[in-house]
Symmetry: none
Subunit: 205 residues, 2 copies
DNA sequence: TAGGCACCTATACCAAAGTATAGTTCTGTC
DNA sequence: GACAGAACTATACTTTGGTATAGGTGCCTA
């Protein structure tokens, strides 16, 4: 039966998660309200399999807390739990050797899956985490573009001039200008740089 | 017992994976050498739980194959398998609804874990995949920029015109042109769009 | 078969971008 | 106090970008 330690300063969050894990599966769960209390508990017990650390919690000091925990108990897997961290932080955590990153937006079922995954030796990271920056009502704007306009936009996104684009597409420069003008209008931007930036932002090319 | 279908045109790869999965855990595995053969097999059987598609395989046509498979059998989970794809492709695959992305660099044990993970309804994506794209020898190019040039570049990255930048910085338009010219020279690009694109790519702003 | 649309071209014009040269002011350094 | 570099301005110029109008072709569909 896996030994799990959850450290979170929000009592409600901590205790409900603990209770859920114990009922739903064969986990033995203990809890702590801050990092030092957690480390103290770990010193008393022979071995925890997994330590779940809230990212915002007394004693954490950003990712330093993660570092401390990992150095003190190298054999114990550590997962970071956070409701607010951005992708930057999450990536840094993984680079610093965390075995998992658990956003609080996860469903309870997914949490269990994630924990099992980590316990089996894998590293859990929700691939789309932080992707919510732009919920991507995808390319409603870009759908109106004709084939040629799309091709023109694609070349715009490499920073080519109208003349170069004309050569690449095998048409006259005037034609390219026409396409560019239409693209700008359809995308609702005022110059080619903005068009390129917008397309890149939406990961079109 | 989960039903798995592996489609890969490399016989050795396909068959060894299949054999391994069957011995190591309770999977029922079938195989196909290309996408069409795979879809044909799926039409014959009531339901596969997981379809593993090689990214480079006859019939795939990039991510179109993924699309085809997902549309034809919406109830079956689909994971992409690839030895060469870059992070771009991997992300696109996930955005297009793949349930997992499996790089061939995975260990056998991790493969099994990943498959179980996907079968349990989660989406598997190795968090550090393709992180080697740009280790970011950061801004060797950008270090030479003076303060004003940097500010100018920043505004360039929103797609502003020289006139607007001049207003924002409280200087004459000519001055902005000068800065822009210097920025282009120092970055080794030939117009403002390329400069903006480059800066964005390096995540400067 | 008539209309609509994507696509291409032409001419023309004005605005914006980019280049070149020259000069001023300020600041920090040798 | 001389010098170098960053920042700013001015004038003048060429190239590129973007707009406007008008017209030609081919394809598809009502």
């Amino acid at each position: 039966m896996p030994n799990i330690l959850i450290a979170d300063d929000h009592d409600l969050v901590r205790d409900t998660i603990a209770a859920y894990l114990e009922t739903v599966d064969d986990f033995k769960v203990q809890t702590a309200a801050n990092l030092d209390a957690a480390l103290e508990l770990m010193r008393g017990i022979d071995s925890f399999d997994l330590l779940i650390l809230d990212y915002h919690m007394p004693g954490m000091d950003g990712l330093n807390g993660l570092e401390r925990a990992r150095k003190a108990f190298p054999a114990t897997k550590v997962a970071l739990l956070s409701g607010v961290a951005n992708r930057e932080v999450a990536n840094k955590a993984m680079e610093n050797g965390a075995n998992g990153f658990i956003p609080k937006s996860l469903t309870a079922a997914s949490l269990v899956n994630a924990i099992k995954f980590v316990l089996s030796g894998e590293r859990y990271f929700p691939f789309d985490f932080g992707a919510a920056t732009t919920p991507d009502a995808p390319s409603a704007t870009f759908a109106n573009l004709s084939d040629r306009e799309m091709q023109t936009l694609e070349q715009l996104c490499i920073g080519l001039s109208n003349k170069e684009i004309a050569r690449n597409l095998g048409v006259q420069e005037v034609t390219v200008k026409l396409h560019v003008k239409n693209v700008l209008a359809k995308l609702g931007v005022s110059n080619r740089t903005q068009a390129a930036l917008l397309a890149k932002e939406k990961h079109l090319f």
